[in-house]
C-alpha cells in the first residue's frame, strides 16, 4: 500500500519525502478540523449536562397540559 504510493510519487527521494510530509499534513488537518470534531459529537464522551435538551422540550408540553387540564 504505502510501498506502491512511494513508487508512484514523482521525483528523487528527497522530493518524495517532502511530498509525503505535505500529504501527511493535509490528512492531519482534515482529521483535526472536521473528522475528529464530528466524531466527538457522536461519541458518548465530553457530556457534562443533565438531559436538558429532551427535558426542556418536554417541559413546555407538561406546562401546557397542566393549563389545559
Amino acid at each position: 500500500m504505502y510501498g506502491a504510493l512511494w513508487r508512484k510519487l514523482p521525483g528523487p527521494n528527497v522530493v518524495k519525502v517532502v511530498e509525503l510530509l505535505v500529504m501527511l499534513a493535509v490528512v492531519v488537518v482534515l482529521l483535526f478540523a472536521w473528522v475528529f470534531p464530528w466524531a466527538t459529537v457522536h461519541l458518548p464522551i465530553d457530556n457534562v449536562t443533565v438531559d436538558s435538551s429532551s427535558q426542556s422540550m418536554l417541559m413546555p408540553d407538561a406546562r401546557l397540559r397542566q393549563v389545559m387540564e
Binding site: M1, L31, F36, V41, I45, N47, V48, T49, S52
Partner: protein
Amino acid sequence: MGERSDDATGVEPAIVGNNRHRLAKFVGVIGELLVTVGVVLLLFSAYQLWWTNVIAAGHTSVAREQAKEYIASSTPKPLNSAFPKGDAFALMYIPRLKPSVWALPILQGVDLETLTKGLGHYPETAMPGEVGNFALAGHRATNGEPLANFDQLRAGDKVYVQTPTAWYTYELKVDQIVSPTAYWVIKPNPIPEAHLPSDRIITLTTCNPRWASYERWAFWGVLTSVRPRQDGPPPELEL
C-alpha cells in the same frame, strides 16, 4: 486424465511461490491498515487531550473579555431567560479550583459549542442571586476542562459570581453522583431531604467518571451573601 501429471511438476513451485507472494502482499496491506488505524487513534487522543484545550483556551479568553465588558456596562442587557444564547454574563471564582475557575466566564446555554468557552448556564434555570436554582455545567476533561479538579470540592467551599449588579457568594453544601437523565438536579429545591437553609441555590454539574461520561456529578450550594457592585469584590478574594 489427472491434473497433476508428471510434466506439470516443474510448474508447481512457481505457482506456490506466486500464491505465497500474494498472501504476503495481502498480509502486508492488512498490517499497514492496522498501523494506520493505530496512528489515527493516537491522533484522536492528541486531539482530545491537547488540541481541544488549545482551542478552548482561546475561546475562554474571548468570552472572559465579553463578560468583563458586560459587567462593566452601565446599561447591561437584563439578566433573564431571554438573555442571548452563547453570550457571557458573569465571572466565577472558586478559590478551591484556582486557577482554572478564576475569572471564568459564565455563558448562557449548555450546548457543546458554548461549553468550550467557559461554564454554561442552563437557560431555563434561575439567574445569580434569584430564588430558584442557578444551574451550571462545565467540562471536567478536555475542551478547557475548567472543572478538572471537581473531585477536590468539599462542602463549605465558597463560590463567587460577579454580575453587573453584584457579587454573589454561594457556599457548597451537598453533592451527588446521578444519571445523565437526572434533570431534577437543576430544578428548584432538588434535594428537599438536605433542608438547604435558603431557596436561592446554585448547582454545578459535570461528567463522571472524569474520562468517560456515563454519569453526572452534581454539587449544590446556597446563597450566603450579596455585595452590591459599588462595594467591590469580597475582600477575602484579594482581587
